[in-house]
């Protein structure tokens, strides 16, 4: 249902912006007649709903359209880059959660101490830095000044190649992770704070559990519940971050492809990627719901 909505939205949006693909493909010099011929040949002169239906039909067959600019089917284009992007996103997502969860709990437990306040301050700073700025500052410092790390991400063509070159991925991953950690840890902190105030924490302490047992057995799981949803919801932001980071580090992923297509006004690619992102978002939410159902027995039963 939502997916259908996304496809309609993307379709309408792109048509509003580029109503005559022929003109875009053939260039400004092309004659009106040849543009019309192109549009007719590809069915772009049919009424919008009909166009949408045929678009939807090919979507269902896994056909995302054809990039006239790059002379390649969109599916192939995306396929080339998807793995690399997925790698970057997955690694930084996992890292952010792994870092943010204990960090948030630590802050909640040490609430309003120097540790908490400095971590909160750091989170605020990271949260307020534009991702590209952070990336460039890191490049300047670690690559240009210290010459420790490469300024460009791995250019390997396969995911395996990227994995084999982890040093080059450090800066992109750090950049992407830092921003998510800032957001996640703030949520984690407030969620842990809410849970710490709950009666069952007091009951756990009244049982004589050590503080560590109280935190690991009773606080951790309950505090993570809202984070699961948040991670699902943060997928669009993560992919948008990908766009920036891939551009900064010249990493040939989907984000960079999107950026290049944007400059070339290659609409089929833009459309396909937006659609994919939408689908991923919906899937992300679904996965989060399922994961939540696994961790929260209250939901499991219904």
């Amino acid at each position: 249902m939502v997916l259908l909505g996304i496809s309609v939205l993307v379709f309408v949006l792109l048509h509003a912006i580029s109503s005559s693909p022929g003109r875009a493909v053939l260039g400004v010099q092309a004659s009106a007649a040849s543009v019309a011929a192109f549009n007719h040949a590809h069915g772009y002169d049919r009424p919008l709903p009909l166009q949408y239906l045929s678009y939807l039909g090919s979507l269902l067959h896994g056909d995302l359209g054809y990039s006239y600019k790059l002379n390649q089917p969109v599916t192939a284009l995306l396929g080339e880059n998807a793995g690399r992007s997925a790698f970057l996103s997955a690694v930084s997502l996992v890292l952010s959660v792994v870092i943010a969860v204990p960090l948030g709990i630590l802050q909640a437990v040490k609430r309003n101490t120097v540790i908490d306040n400095s971590l909160t301050g750091l989170a605020f700073v990271l949260y307020s830095i534009p991702a590209f700025f952070l990336g460039l500052v890191l490049i300047e410092f670690f690559s240009l000044r210290l010459n420790l790390l490469p300024s460009e991400a791995s250019q390997a063509t396969t995911v395996l190649g990227v994995v084999a070159d982890p040093v080059s991925m450090i800066l992109p991953v750090v950049t992407l992770t830092a921003v998510s950690v800032a957001a996640f840890s703030r949520y984690m902190r407030s969620s842990a704070l809410d849970n710490l105030a709950q009666d069952y924490i007091r009951v756990a302490r009244a049982k004589g559990l050590t503080e560590r047992q109280v935190l690991s057995r009773h606080l951790l799981r309950n505090s993570c519940l809202p984070i699961i949803t948040l991670v699902g919801l943060s997928l669009p932001a993560l992919l948008a971050g990908n766009l920036i980071v891939e551009t900064v580090f010249n990493f040939p992923g989907l984000g960079l492809l999107f950026f290049n297509s944007l400059q070339k006004e290659d609409y089929p690619v833009l459309m396909a990627y937006s659609l994919i992102v939408g689908v991923l978002t919906v899937l992300g939410n679904l996965v989060a719901d399922v994961a939540l159902a696994f961790t929260d027995p209250r939901i499991r039963l219904h």
Partner: protein, 736 residues
């Protein structure tokens, strides 16, 4: 000699951002093995902080600044945290108030009960599970083996509380601290849990510290009682001694301000004026002096606990007061103290043409000729159950099923029942906040459902609502003046100046200063806000006020102030009330007639005195039995059956008589046929196949005729066939 628990001169502080609260000041107590000590007091008096101090679980900012807490002779104050952890849950255990939030929602109950066993007794997983099973059986959890892997939300409130108790008992503690263990519960479950605690104490020989605000709870369960006020112990004595011969004016006032079931309806409740002091800046001298009728200059120095009066044999009775009183206030001629504080509204104080001071609604249950005001007939309301993903499930909560009653002019109709019985839903329908699915609410013969838009809005002046939560019922950002003006504005009554005058009158009537006009709700105490709520309801001079749990959120001493006010206003305004409450004593005090609800059905209706003295329905009888009475002798001689079991789901209510699953007299027919309401006297009817009393001779034509209230016969598919007089044994123990 060492006691299981001994506290000496305990002082606990809580450091807040702007102040330091002296939560507990110089408190000493001890408990023997197998003894229950009742610690009573109003909210904020430091009783819970005492419990938490013992456990070393004070909230952030809290600390013990002096004194000693010894368990079996071992000092706990100053013990390093790891040592203290080994004591908690092992030698001293605690049961908290809210069973909903006290259990971790994501762990099975088996895990949670086994946890302290693994921690303290070094038991392995299987061993601990074995022990968990054992204690869960001990606390009366039905089929514990099947429930070990259940999650807390799968259990009802009463069962969850049993799990909490099991958790506390798992390591066989010497001392059990029960902090308001039954406060949020329905009375029937409350009496089950209290009974269980009592039983366990006897069997396990524990020392129990029972912390509660409810004098009724300690009366039946405690061996000795300590009364706290404003962080201090003000009186301590054996339970019977305390109730018979209290010496502190606070104890005396507290007890006198509780409405009791045998309270003569015409009497005014005693009420302690004012509100407790702020513990961040406690007054010097006796902390109760500001509210005490006996206070004089001597009370500016602080009294200490001292043995009082002629030391009775073995009666260890101490009181901290310069002017100890002798025993309870006489019940009948309860004088209202500090009469100057009660502005008696003269005839000019009311806006309406001065009505003759009503003779008081409680002039006895003579056959009512008063005009019928509201008639509720065959009310049905069901709420669809939404289930997570798929929206509608086709199921519905049967909140109200075929309920009929009437309310006459100037009378109070009480609706009682356990939570979820549909009484609040009825209240909302009576004031047209909600529409019935079937049936009708008629105001002076006019069906509210047929009115819409403007006519309904005008009609609303006659029907007002008073809420339970004094905090949620007032818009936080509207001044009191504007809150009281709103109804007048909406209904277009009077010019601005007339409205101003009316607002001041209303404030005076509910006992608030005129300066309240410019104040915001947050500047008032809970009791004061209830007064504002009442003033707002009165603003339109309604004929009927529906009061939904009007005093449940208030402390005992404040409660009686509001109850008295409600009665007084009824007399001066010829008001009718529908009072909705789970507290039968409150309803009994206010109401002329009572309707008892169970799971959406009206099971018994009749004059208040008669319902109490001679109930016909088993549920009503059980409900009355379950109420803790602040009278040790009565409480101890009570039969301990109450009402068994738990409330069934309102989504799938039992067939036939909905009470049959918990009824001691249930037989096969109860599952098959819905018992009709049958007359048991003038205006008294009950729906039971095997009632506690013989019904009046059958008049199959229409029971309506015999009843003062036109209770429509409960007739699904027109079942009018009556049972022949059933051979049920009328309960002889209940003599009117």
């Amino acid at each position: 000699m060492s006691y299981p628990l001994e506290i000496e001169n305990l002082r606990t502080q809580i450091r807040l951002r702007h102040s330091v609260v002296q939560a507990v000041s110089d408190l000493s107590l001890h408990i023997e093995a197998g003894e229950t000590l009742g610690l009573v007091g109003e909210s904020g008096c430091g009783k819970s902080m005492t419990g938490l101090s013992i456990m070393g679980l004070l909230p952030p900012g809290g600390s013990i600044v002096g004194g000693s807490v010894r368990v079996d002779g071992r000092e706990l104050v100053g013990l390093p945290e790891p040592e203290l952890q080994r004591v908690r849950g092992n030698e001293v255990a605690m049961v908290f108030q809210d069973s909903m939030t006290s259990l971790n929602p994501t762990r099975t109950i088996g895990y949670q009960v086994a946890e302290p066993v693994r921690r303290h007794l070094g038991a392995g997983k299987a061993e601990a599970r074995e022990r968990a099973l054992e204690v869960l059986g001990l606390v009366g959890l039905p089929r514990p083996a099947e429930r070990l892997d259940d999650y807390p939300h799968q259990l009802s409130g009463g069962l969850r509380q049993r799990v909490l108790i099991a958790m506390a008992l798992a390591c066989g503690p010497k001392v059990l601290i029960a902090d308001e263990p039954t406060t949020a519960m329905d009375v029937t479950i409350q009496s089950q849990i209290l009974h269980l605690l009592d039983d366990l104490k006897k069997r396990l020989g524990m020392a129990v510290l029972l912390i509660t605000h409810d004098m009724g709870v300690v009366a039946g369960r405690a061996d000795r009682v300590h009364v706290m006020y404003a962080g201090q112990l003000v009186e301590r004595a054996g339970t019977t001694e305390l109730f018979d011969a209290m010496a502190h004016p606070y104890t005396q006032g507290l007890l006198a301000s509780i409405p009791q079931l045998d309270q003569p309806p015409a009497s005014t409740l005693y009420s302690i004026p004012g509100i407790p002091p702020d513990l961040a800046d406690p007054p010097r001298g006796c902390r109760f002096a500001a509210r005490c009728p006996y206070a004089d200059a001597r009370c500016e120095t602080e009294p200490t606990l001292a043995v009082t009066g002629p030391a009775r044999a073995g009666a260890e009775h101490e009181v901290a007061c310069w002017h100890p009183v002798e025993g309870p206030l006489p019940r009948l001629a309860a004088p209202t103290p500090a009469p100057s504080a009660t502005p008696t509204p003269g005839p000019t104080a009311t806006a309406r043409p001065a009505t003759e001071p009503a003779p008081g609604p409680a002039t006895g249950p003579q056959e009512d000729e008063r005009a019928e005001l509201v008639a509720v007939t065959g009310l049905v309301r069901e709420f669809p159950v939404r289930s997570g993903l798929f929206g509608r499930s086709g199921l519905s909560v049967k909140a109200v099923s075929d309920v009929s009653f009437t309310v006459r002019r100037g009378e109070t109709f009480g609706l009682v029942g356990e939570s979820g019985c549909g009484k609040s839903t009825i209240g909302r329908m009576v004031v047209a906040l909600d529409r019935p699915d079937r049936g009708a609410v008629a105001l002076r013969g006019e069906d509210l459902a047929t009115l819409g838009g403007r006519p309904l809005r005008r009609r609303r002046r006659d029907l007002q609502l008073m809420f339970q939560d004094p905090y949620a019922s007032l818009d936080p950002r509207v001044r009191v003046g504007a809150t009281l003006r709103e109804p007048l504005e909406i209904q277009g009554i009077g010019s601005r100046r007339e409205q101003d005058r009316r607002i001041r009158e209303l404030l005076a009537e509910v006992g608030l200063p005129g300066s309240a006009v410019d104040r915001y709700p947050h500047e008032f105490s809970g009791g004061q806000r209830q007064r504002i709520g009442l003033a707002r309801a009165l603003a339109l001079s309604p004929a009927l006020i529906v009061a939904d749990e009007p005093v449940s959120a208030l402390d005992v001493s404040i409660r009686s102030q509001v109850l008295n006010l409600m009665k007084r206003l009824q007399a001066t305004h010829e008001l009718s009330y529908v009072v909705i409450s789970h507290d039968l004593a409150v309803v009994k005090y206010l109401a002329d007639r009572i309707g008892v609800m169970y799971l959406g059905r009206l099971v018994e209706v009749g004059p208040a005195a008669e319902i109490y003295a001679a109930p016909a329905h088993h549920y009503t009888a059980g409900l009355i039995d379950s109420i803790p009475v602040p009278d040790p002798r009565a409480e101890r001689s009570k039969p301990r059956d109450g009402v068994r079991g738990e409330l069934p789901s309102p989504v799938h209510p039992p067939s036939g008589c909905r009470f049959r699953t918990r009824c001691p007299a249930a037989q096969a027919i109860c599952a098959e046929e819905l018992p009709p309401l049958r007359p048991f006297g003038p205006g008294h009817a009950a729906a039971c196949h095997f009632p506690l009393r013989e019904p009046e001779p059958d008049r199959p034509a229409a029971p309506v005729a015999t009843l003062a209230t036109p209770v429509t016969p409960v007739t699904p598919a027109g079942r009018t066939t009556e049972q022949t007089a059933d051979p049920s044994t009328p309960d002889s123990r209940r003599t009117p």
